[in-house]
């Protein structure tokens, strides 16, 4: 990415060469700026006819190139003051195991694979209900000014602190109380993300025997791979992954026959609630058994499939150059949309979380990556560059959703309560919004992708899969292969979401054991079977609860859970950016602190507004408390409201609303306390006239203490 200083091959004296290089940079980036401006103008000003998706790709690439060349360099030089001579943790503690200086291209791939997940694929698809323009603009502006800045800043801070985690850094730079609050906040966010991701999978697999079979087939395939790497050929990840991928493709092909089978077809046709319970049982088992048996081999499959599918989608978009069918802006920016409720501000900015700015990246950037960094001057490439790639994944997901006929998009993403349960009622409902399709066309599309029905398949994954099938079948196979590509896309999303759910359940389990260990020291023993099972059951119970309420929700669940996830994720990003601002103040670089403070303030405005609206908005579709009140009133009057069939159901719905309200209030509390502590830390640092930051010393030689640590480590 970006451009190096051009290397002149002439024998001219250095000053001349420097001037020439400068001129060349100006010419190249001037041209990129003009091209980008033209592409953006086409996207923004085009009326009427559909435009080619290539314009969006060109605009995105130009914005990224300029941001990387100028803003990332400004952040590196002026704001952070990166020092190539300062040894990184990988150099200082090089032990060949955890701390290893790694070539930048290799590390870039590792970091990108760690941050790229389901988030940037789902959020933009949901946000497409407001048209492509708001989504594209927020993905670009958010990534360049907030998301990439956050990733880069956290990587920088962690690198200067021996690769410490985000929670550790909050504790040392802001104090012990914010440290604990941040830790609890991370745990709450984790539970919500596991629930919402599991819900995406349930929504994609419900009533779909083909999809359910292929995803279920990954379990025996992964177990076979696990046994293979354990006993037959230990450590041969490459060959076992290849075998696994071949088996997966066979499973996709076999799934079509299974779905058509009179006995197995119905056997694999499961309802949402059955799938939810199966998911919980599976999540529990998968995170308790040894990792080599199921978790690790599935991780290989999902990682390689993910990278392959992302590259395939990029190539597909460039070859097919599809036209965008969705209008630039739809009337649903007023908040009346069927996919998620709430107006453009603030809900667009929390619906597209990953891809624009994601707090979770702060956990990755302060995890393994800083321990592998060769040199501080690679922080812009790894921190800023990888986030730009992630943002591009979000752009591609948005393209895949908007190349579909808008009528299909809305039929797929609107809840049954709005469009009814058959093609005729769905076609009539979307016609009222001004999008026209015949019931026969909807049924034909379902047959093309090998499903009984494509109506009300909320959650983003099926829509993305239809979009990807549309693009990829134009490259390979045509209409005949559409069903294969659809199920390939579903499988790849389900696979890496399930891997995230299992791995996340384990991480949560360790966090809960750590927290409970404060009261009962015995809980901390990670080898103890009782502690292990107890903490895992607690974790699965927590996310399982939200998953189950989401599945039985008449509005589809995504409607209330995705905003909660978005709020949580953006709040974590705000916490990371607040920490970044505090650190800049403590480094006495406060005149540059706007670089992190401005995105932090914007995220605070969005998440606090969204949080308070979710709590207190009078519209029952948005406000949890208003919804609870409506059901409470009906209950007092002796009425039953759908989907409740008994008074007990009514009570459960009311309790769910209160749980969601309490969670939202919890997030608001976390972020508000972090703001208070952050501002106090900044003001304190301002009064002191020397840097007070807690970094590793810049000394090029190892201190005695470091050497003692190295010896102890060995």
């Amino acid at each position: 990415m970006g451009s190096e200083m051009p290397k002149g091959r002439t024998q001219a004296d250095p000053e001349d060469r420097f001037a020439m290089g400068k001129l060349r940079t100006a010419l190249i980036f001037g041209a990129i700026a003009i091209l980008g401006a033209i592409a953006l103008a086409v996207i923004a000003l085009h009326q009427g006819e559909s435009i080619s998706a290539v314009w969006i790709v060109v605009a995105a690439l130009c914005v990224y190139a300029i941001a990387y060349r100028f803003y990332a360099r400004y952040l590196a030089g002026k704001v952070m003051g990166l020092n190539a001579k300062r040894p990184t943790p990988a150099v200082r503690h090089n032990d060949g195991l955890d701390y290893v200086p790694t070539p930048r291209n290799v590390l870039f791939g590792h970091h990108f694979a760690a941050i790229a997940g389901a988030g940037p694929l789902v959020g933009p698809v949901l946000a497409a209900q407001m048209g492509y323009l708001p989504g594209v603009l927020w993905i670009l502006v958010g990534a360049v000014l907030a998301g990439a800045v956050q990733d880069m800043m956290v990587l920088f801070m962690s690198t200067r602190r021996d690769g410490r985690s985000l929670g550790d850094m909050v504790r040392t730079e802001m104090g012990p109380i914010p440290g604990i609050i941040a830790q609890v906040g991370v745990l709450m966010i984790m539970v919500i993300i596991l629930a919402v991701l599991a819900l995406v999978v349930v929504k994609a697999l419900a009533e779909s025997p083909w999809g359910t079979f292929t995803v279920a087939a990954t379990i025996p395939i992964a177990i076979f791979m696990g046994l293979y790497t354990r006993y037959l050929r230990p450590g041969r990840v490459g060959e076992v992954s290849l075998i696994g991928v071949v088996l997966l493709i066979l499973a996709i092909i076999g799934g079509g026959h299974i779905a058509a089978d009179p006995f197995w077809g119905p056997a694999f046709t499961l309802s949402g609630t059955t799938l939810a319970i199966a998911m919980m049982a599976y999540g529990f088992v998968a995170s308790v058994i040894p990792v080599w048996l199921l978790l690790a081999p599935r991780d290989y499959l999902s990682t390689f499939l993910k990278i392959g599918a992302i590259l395939g989608l990029a190539v597909g978009i460039l070859i097919v150059r599809p036209h965008i069918q969705m209008p630039a802006i739809t009337p649903f920016i007023d908040g009346s949309g069927p996919v998620f409720s709430g107006a453009l501000f603030p809900f667009l900015f929390i619906t597209i979380a990953c891809g624009a700015v994601s707090g979770f990246h702060a956990l990755i950037s302060s995890g393994t990556t800083p321990k592998l960094l060769e040199n501080e001057n690679q922080i812009p490439l790894i921190g800023y560059g990888a986030m730009l790639c992630e943002s591009f994944v979000a752009i591609m997901a948005l393209i895949a959703a908007t190349v579909l006929d808008p009528a299909v998009y809305f039929a797929m993403n609107s809840p049954v309560a709005v469009i009814g349960d058959n093609a005729v009622s769905a076609a009539a409902a979307v016609a009222q919004w001004g999008f026209h399709i015949t019931p026969a066309e909807l049924e034909q599309l379902a047959r093309d992708v090998g499903e009984h029905s494509i109506l009300s398949r909320a959650g983003g994954a099926p829509t993305l899969a239809v979009g990807m099938a549309h693009i990829l079948s134009n490259v390979i196979g045509g209409k005949a292969m559409m069903a294969f590509w659809y199920h390939f896309a579903i499988l790849f999303e389900a696979l890496f979401i399930l891997t995230t759910v299992d791995a996340g359940t384990r991480v949560c389990r360790f966090m809960i054991q750590d927290l409970l260990g404060v009261a009962v020291p015995k809980m901390r023993e990670t080898k103890s079977w009782t502690a292990n099972v107890l903490a895992t059951a607690l974790t699965v119970g927590l996310w399982g609860y939200f998953l189950y309420t989401g599945v039985v929700d008449p509005l589809g669940g995504i409607n209330s859970l995705w905003p909660l996830f978005g709020i949580a994720n953006q709040m974590l990003a705000a916490v990371a950016l607040i920490l970044g601002t505090v650190v800049l103040f403590k480094m006495k670089r406060e005149r540059f602190a706007w670089a992190t403070a401005v995105p932090a303030v914007w995220l605070l405005i969005c998440t606090l507004t969204a949080g308070f609206q979710k709590l207190l908005h009078p519209d029952v579709k948005i406000g949890f408390l208003a919804h609870a009140r409506k059901y409470q009133d009906a209950l007092t009057a002796g009425d039953l409201l759908a989907p409740a069939k008994t008074a007990g159901d009514m009570h459960r719905i009311i309790i769910n609303d209160y749980v969601n309200s309490a969670l939202t209030a919890g997030f608001l509390f976390v972020v508000l306390t972090m703001v208070v502590y952050g501002v106090r830390a900044c003001l304190k640092a301002r009064r002191i006239n020397h840097p007070t930051v807690v970094e590793q010393p810049a000394a090029h030689e190892l201190t005695l203490e470091d050497e003692a640590m190295d010896i102890a480590r060995a």
Partner: protein, 85 residues
């Protein structure tokens, strides 16, 4: 890489080019493999062995299998990497 001789400039140049291409391909292949294994939490074994031999020549390094299992356990252990979005 052999330097091109003055007598047979053209063929030597070609050989040179081939050499450069082959070296680049080998390097890319190695980098790609290293990237792919690091993506699933497995660092480079050769780098580890070189490091172990340079710093602790008295101790035998872990063998390939032990190295693999150690990193497999670490990736999903306490404080393991969590991936999302």
């Amino acid at each position: 890489m052999p330097r091109p001789s003055l007598q047979a400039k053209e063929p030597a140049d070609n050989a040179d080019l081939l050499c450069v291409c082959r070296d680049a391909l080998v390097r890319w292949g190695k980098d790609a493999r290293r990237t792919a294994s690091l993506m699933v939490g497995q660092p480079d074994y050769e780098v580890y062995v070189a490091h172990a031999e340079a710093t602790h020549p008295d101790q035998p390094p872990l063998d390939r299998t032990a190295f693999f299992r150690l990193h497999e356990a670490r990736r999903f252990g306490a404080g393991g990497a969590f991936r999302c979005c």
